[in-house]
């Protein structure tokens, strides 16, 4: 028994069972976000992959890895997207170090 089951990705629509109108609205929004627009489907799939890694969603990582491949990306491009997301996350942690510096300065002579 795992907390995350691969099979659950195919059961995503079950989440609409008790509130279908909200799930339907989410799906319309979600699908519209995937389509070609000012950004290509491939660019969107790479953004999706990068965000998936940062939010650490195993379902999303599986889905957007496949989506990136099916939109013609290769592992070098996908890994660059993952590094960028991870670097932003690292930077976001580091910038909070300033909070620490500020707190230190406030109480120090």
């Amino acid at each position: 028994m795992h907390y995350y089951n691969e099979e659950d990705l195919a059961r995503f629509s079950d989440i609409g069972k008790h509130k279908p109108e909200l799930f339907e609205k989410f799906m319309v929004w979600y699908q519209a976000c995937q389509e070609d627009g000012a950004l290509s489907k491939r660019e969107k799939a790479l953004i999706g992959l990068a965000v998936s890694v940062v939010v650490q969603c195993p379902y999303c990582i599986d889905a957007y890895t496949n989506s990136s491949l099916e939109n013609g990306s290769n592992m070098e491009q996908m890994t660059e997207a993952i590094h960028l997301a991870a670097a932003i996350r690292g930077g976001a942690s580091l910038i909070h170090g300033i909070q620490s510096h500020n707190a230190h300065d406030k109480v120090s002579m």
Binding site: A10, S40, K41, R42, N66, L69, E70, N71, G72, N74, M75, E76
Partner: protein, 332 residues
């Protein structure tokens, strides 16, 4: 490396397991031939490569190759019925002794001739003048190149294949292929794994840019072809535990608008012995055309064959997923 074919269907090559049957998905619609405009001849299973996705299970160890009398029968049918296109495939078709005879004789019928060429065969003994031979006979050359990078190409087609393929494409460019209007050079993209191909126009633009920038290579069109879940690729799907998810992906991506443009509606496939099939995939699955008394090239009956019902099974999801797939790329 050649891998064994899964034998599970009464001694014949296995079909993939699918969550839904193809017939059910078609919803009772009949799939029939529209007209025969292409004679696709698979001249044998001998190949200098053994690619992981190969639906023919072709390799250097295979011995099945077409004999002269069968070549003659194909030429007779081509000329008698004025079939517009001859599509020669294999294996590596250039390796059979009668390949050049077949091409030069077929040319006299006025048919357009396509050769499905794996690029690396031109480095085999006696084959180094293939670019010149192709050009002299104005063959349309359709080449396999799954990606514009070495790692993906070699992973699918074997170590060292990418470098040879690039050198071969340069030689084809050097005799005018992909440059001269009469010498058409088309590439084929196959996914290097258990996923669907990208949009054809998008990946064609990537190939054009990357091959030009990195290697100064030109080509005409790029076709995306879905990996067919049969033979060596099905064996790989099973060993890598991807069969269920891949078939679910194909079924979920079923696109009804691909059905009217499926290649089986416009071609007839011939095997190395002269037997007839609806497509090269049915040929490998040993599913012959459903026409009594006209199942070989020796008893070819155009009228009957042009109205025949197509034989389908669950592997057909490979041609109807997404934008569809055929020997000429997407169909929808």
């Amino acid at each position: 490396m050649q891998t064994a074919v899964q034998i599970t269907r009464n001694g014949k090559p296995a079909l993939p397991n699918s969550p839904v049957s193809f017939e059910e998905k078609l919803g009772g619609a009949e799939l029939r031939s529209a007209a025969i405009d292409t004679l696709q001849v698979n001249v044998g299973k001998l190949c200098n490569q053994a690619c992981k996705h190969c639906h023919v299970d072709a390799s250097p160890k295979r011995t099945e190759i077409m004999r002269r009398e069968t070549v003659e029968a194909c030429l007779n049918v081509l000329g008698k019925y004025n079939i517009p296109t001859l599509d020669i495939t294999g294996g590596a078709p250039e390796l059979i002794p009668d390949f050049r005879y077949f091409v030069t004789e077929a040319r006299k019928t006025g048919a357009k001739i396509i050769v499905r060429h794996n690029l690396t065969v031109m480095f085999e003994a006696g084959q180094t003048d293939l670019p010149e031979f192709f050009a002299e006979n104005e063959l349309e050359v359709v080449c396999s190149l799954p990606y514009f990078l070495q790692q993906q190409t070699d992973a699918q087609r074997g170590s060292g294949v990418f470098d040879k393929s690039i050198e071969a494409l340069k030689r084809l460019n050097a005799v005018g292929y992909g440059i001269d209007k009469k010498l058409v050079l088309n590439l084929v993209y196959n996914p290097t794994g258990a996923f669907l191909p990208p949009a054809q126009t998008a990946i064609e633009a990537d190939f054009r840019r990357e091959l030009k920038t990195r290697f100064d290579i030109s080509f005409n069109n790029l076709y995306t072809i879905t990996n067919m879940p049969i033979a060596r690729f099905l064996d790989w799907l099973r060993r890598s535990r991807n069969e269920e998810s891949y078939m679910t992906r194909l079924v979920n991506a079923f696109n009804p608008s691909t059905v009217s443009g499926l290649m089986c509606r416009n071609l007839i496939s011939v095997d190395w012995l002269g037997n007839l099939y609806d497509c090269d995939f049915n040929q490998m699955l040993e599913l012959p055309v459903a026409i009594e008394n006209s199942q070989t090239i020796f008893g070819f009956d155009l009228e009957k064959l042009a109205k025949r019902q197509i034989v389908t099974a669950n592997h057909c999801f490979g041609c109807t997923a997404g934008a569809g797939s055929s020997c000429g790329g997407t169909v929808a």
